[in-house]
Symmetry: C2
């Protein structure tokens, strides 16, 4: 098996029109090289993929990076499972990091990546500003974003789910059961997926000729607490809905608890639909009707996309959405009055 001949310092020197020692100085970050000489040499080194003699061939795909803002939710766990399993199958380890939306922790992660190989990074709902983009570009590793934040188009491959269709399906299910006072606890407004689910909810109401009651739409943060608080407020206002569509399973569990504390039963008094289909949806009492998004598959797809970029294949679409699916369990029923 012929190994591609490694380019040597001498060859680089010839092409750059300098001597070997000069190339050596550039390689070893010595200060005493003219700026334009250095630039010319560095460009040639990069172009020919120069590696020093003893250095082992870089093994791409020994590691990939998975970056969350936080890993405190079961949601993150599902994505991690898919990413880890897919990467493991390709022989790569998965480096998991949580940067907590803080610049210092992001920097620490970048410093860490600089000190090793990385076959690419999967960023999960992570904000991706110009500075970070520039740094990642400098590191020359491919990047895929799962559930991107809102804002300008990233110009990067992204993976998501059919959130709009899911929001519509959840709402349609409640309409089909006979509900008309359907509340919605929306998700973090900084993420596109939240807006898509909200618009799906609106579209279903529109199509059914049900007027949107603005008092029955509130914004949560995808977590248990906000589901609890929003619902408690609705119940205290006396304008209780007969059904609640929460944009995440965790918020749906908060809705459960607010209902329980006021003596209401699910689904007898109020129907509840979640979004995600975390394992927690099955573990709740009653088991939660929800919109399944294939988070593990989204993770897998992100890894495969990184791999395709590495292999130089064209990534067909910069934005892929995997299908959502309504999973009916025991938390939804016709309204009492029907």
């Amino acid at each position: 098996m012929a190994v591609a001949a490694r380019i040597t310092i001498a060859e680089i020197a010839a092409r750059a029109g300098v001597s070997a020692p000069t190339v050596s100085r550039v390689l070893n970050q010595r200060g005493d090289v003219a700026a334009d000489t250095r630039e010319r040499v560095e460009h040639l080194l990069a172009e020919h993929g120069y590696r020093r003699r003893g250095a082992p061939a870089p093994r791409p795909w020994t590691l990939i990076d998975l970056v969350f803002d936080d890993i405190d939710s079961p949601w993150a766990l599902e994505v991690l499972r898919g990413v880890e399993d897919e990467a493991h199958g390709l022989g790569a380890g998965t480096v998991v990091s949580a940067v907590h939306g803080r610049a210092a922790e992001r920097r620490r992660w970048l410093d860490n990546v600089r000190g090793r190989e990385s076959g690419g990074a999967v960023l999960v709902t992570t904000g991706l500003d110009a500075a970070l983009r520039a740094e990642l570009q400098e590191l020359r590793i491919p990047v895929v974003v799962v559930d991107p934040a809102g804002g300008a188009d990233l110009g990067l491959p992204t993976v998501g789910a059919t959130d709009w269709a899911g929001g519509r399906a959840a709402t349609q299910h409640l309409l089909d059961l006979g509900h008309t006072r359907i509340a919605h606890v929306a998700g973090r407004p900084d993420l596109w997926c939240s807006r898509a689910r909200l618009d799906g909810y609106r579209a279903a109401l529109d199509a059914a000729g049900v007027d949107l009651d603005r008092d029955l739409v509130a914004t949560g943060a995808f977590d248990y607490r906000s589901g609890f608080e929003v619902t408690s407020r609705w119940l205290a206002d006396g304008a209780a809905p007969t059904a609640v569509f929460a944009a995440s399973d965790q918020m749906a569990l908060g809705v459960y608890e607010a209902l329980r504390q006021t003596g209401r039963r699910v689904p007898d008094d109020v129907s509840v639909v979640g979004f995600d289909d975390l394992q927690e949806a099955q573990w709740s009492s009653p088991p939660l009707t929800t919109v399944r998004q294939p988070l593990d598959q989204m993770g897998r797809l992100a890894v495969r996309t990184l791999r395709r970029i590495t292999d130089g294949e064209d990534v067909a679409s910069p934005r892929v959405e995997l299908a959502t699916e309504l999973v009916v369990r025991a938390s939804t029923a016709p309204p009492r009055t029907a």
Copy 2:
């Protein structure tokens, strides 16, 4: 700053009483070297920490490894959070792997580790047989085990929780409320922690002069399903307990659902206590009384222990147990009859 002079092939050769080319052959894994020569040379290379000229100095603590059998439970997520945050703070990335108890996946992980640096491995409830120990020893990375499986003493530092005391506290809490028909859903029998919780349960009953009813002790697998099934069986047998202590929060949620499906309410009809204090314990309806074990702290401690081993410090105790703590929420109350 003086850099310790790197040992050269020539020096190794002199010490081994062979020529430089022979050392080179050993280094480059050529076949044509006598077994005893190879061994002598390899020993010297290791002893003097030989590194080839161009090779960058190894940067320990760029990465550490965290190995689970499975990462499908929120339990794993809590450990991960602690490990990741502690490692991140030390500038290291956390490589997460799930080996699913399969030799092939374990091998794949080991192959991956061989191709990069690792500052050490935290094994979580992972079986650690002689073969794996030998391989890890060969890789020369420190190892710490969280919640070790039962069986022979590992001779490795381990991190756990005061499971026995936790089991006792959970049971005592139920006794204090007036319960005497207290069932126990035990955890995976292959883990020490399960046995310790069971023994704590027994000890509390003994101390209170309550006879152990063997029919009220069943073995689960720490998961939702087994909690559900064990409880359903008890209820079907007509010998229903007035309280259930489950050895994990996930099993406790299965207990909830079995009770709900038979029209029983928590805690009015049956009290339930879990173990772990996962986030899910707060998210359940009613919020679950449980024994908190500081899983994130256990993860942090495991990382700090790896670090201490790396730094050559003595690891004071091969076995550290962090304190558990009873957290009373809304799933426990006096028995109806009391």
